[in-house]
């Protein structure tokens, strides 16, 4: 119990202490299914531009990264939209971006302008994508459009319906 409270405090305090420019929370819903496997998750940004001018940046990728001989990479393509937009161009693992699959719950990610993996985000219109694909389950993509930079702290969110829970994006100048 004490541990839970400490964790909750840490979560509450973290935006204040770090003042991340992009604070993202991704909810992986708890599902009551016969066979549950922790889902593969991709979190990435795309510019709202068209064609060749389109910018993509993968911020987080959670997959079965501990499998022998990179066996878990085989299924990354099931994050179909991410795979087409950016995944197929990346070599796993990606330092500071890829990691193990996560269980149901709310997971926090924070990114700072000018620091990897975000880099320096140019002024413009973007979309935050969260895609989740689950073995023996479904696939869902949730989008949060936003403009960068912001003048004051801004909070945006979008809800998934099946595989993705609530996605929130807090933007800080």
């Amino acid at each position: 119990m004490l541990k839970k409270i400490t964790l909750a405090c840490a979560l509450l305090l973290s935006p204040l202490t770090h003042a991340a420019n992009l604070q993202i929370s991704v909810e992986i819903p708890k599902l009551n299914v016969a066979e549950y496997h922790a889902p593969y998750t991709a979190v990435w940004l795309e510019s709202a531009a068209e064609g060749d001018k389109k910018f993509t940046k993968t911020l987080a990728i959670w997959y079965a990264d501990k499998k022998r001989e990179g066996g878990g990479e085989k299924w990354l393509k099931d994050l179909r939209q991410w795979w087409r937009r950016d995944g197929r161009n990346l070599t796993m693992p990606v330092d500071g971006v890829s990691g193990a699959t996560k269980l149901a719950g709310v997971h926090q990610l924070s990114f700072t302008q000018g620091a990897e993996p975000l880099g320096t985000l140019a002024k413009g219109n973007y979309v935050l994508f969260v895609e989740i694909a689950r073995e023996d389950g479904g696939r869902e993509v949730v989008k949060v459009p936003f403009a960068w930079p912001v003048e004051k702290a801004t909070s945006l969110s979008a809800n998934g319906t099946t595989e993705v829970g609530v996605v929130t994006l807090e933007l800080n100048p």
């Binding site: 990479e73 085989k74 299924w75 990354l76 087409r84 161009n89 070599t91």
Partner: protein, 274 residues
């Protein structure tokens, strides 16, 4: 009796010619996009009236060819030639795009003799040897029509990131040159291709696009397109799924002794969401 046999033989070829139009050939891969480590992909080559069901036969169209991302040839493995399909496996370990295809070309002639009988060459099932043309076709043949044909059936598979090294045209027959990469097609975006006939833009080629699973729809739901003067066509897929694209082209710019040049092309594409 001889006359009867000739007659029967001719009508059979006529029927087959008609059927060949309704039947389409395709190469279906088990995957069009593989993770960066690559691996095995299995393929079916078949002839059918619906996509992608095995209902008519296993086409006999010469060797299956594979061009790897580095533009070298790769071997097929575990090839099996069944009654309704030909299946084979390919181990894909190079990063980039593979092209898998069968292609053939030929020459055929039809005419009428002075007595009004129809003649044709080569005999059904035989391959025309251009060297035989002069002796096989009578000098006094009337309404002689000599067609040079080309046929190509292909599909594409990418390991990791897409590449274009294997996609260069051979400049023989009717071919597709991708503007949009064939393993980067999306339902929400139009795809652009250029068709070439013997390396030159194939203007006015007829294109047909049909989504897989036609057995379970009330109508085939095909879309029709035509290439512009540059051989260019823009396809709007509308849905995700496996699609068959067929193209036909005909003109009179044939190489002698042919008077008609015709080409058919087909490819299987996977269309992704967004």
């Amino acid at each position: 009796m001889k006359k009867f046999i000739q007659c029967a033989f001719f009508s059979t070829t006529m029927i087959l010619a008609g059927v060949a139009h309704a039947h389409s050939m395709w190469l279906l891969p088990s995957d069009t996009s593989k993770g960066a480590k690559g691996g095995w992909v299995t393929f079916d080559l078949a002839l059918s009236t619906e996509f992608f069901t095995f209902d008519s036969g296993s086409p006999k169209m010469g060797p299956i060819q594979i061009i790897a991302p580095d533009a070298t040839a790769t071997e097929v493995q575990n090839a099996f030639e069944g009654k309704l399909r030909t299946s084979f496996d390919v181990e894909m370990n190079q990063q980039g795009t593979y092209k898998v295809f069968v292609a053939s070309s030929g020459l055929n002639a039809r005419w009428e003799t002075e007595e009004g009988k129809r003649g044709f060459w080569p005999a059904r099932g035989a391959k025309a040897d251009p060297a035989d043309f002069a002796t096989a076709v009578p000098k006094n043949a009337k309404n002689l029509e000599v067609t040079q044909t080309s046929r190509r059936v292909e599909t594409f598979v990418t390991v990791g990131a897409t590449s274009k090294g294997a996609l260069k045209p051979t400049n023989q027959g009717l071919e597709l040159v991708p503007v949009t990469h064939p393993n980067d097609l999306a339902a929400s975006e139009p795809s652009e291709f250029i068709f070439l006939i013997d390396g030159k833009p194939a203007a006015g080629a007829k294109i047909e696009v049909v989504e897989g699973g036609s057995r379970y729809r009330l109508s085939p739901g095909e879309q029709h397109y035509e290439t512009d003067k540059n051989g260019h066509v823009k396809i709007q897929w509308k849905k995700t799924g496996m699609f068959w694209l067929g193209a036909e082209y005909k003109d009179n710019k044939a190489t002698k002794p042919a008077t008609i040049r015709s080409g058919t092309y087909s490819a299987t594409f996977e269309v992704l969401a967004e």
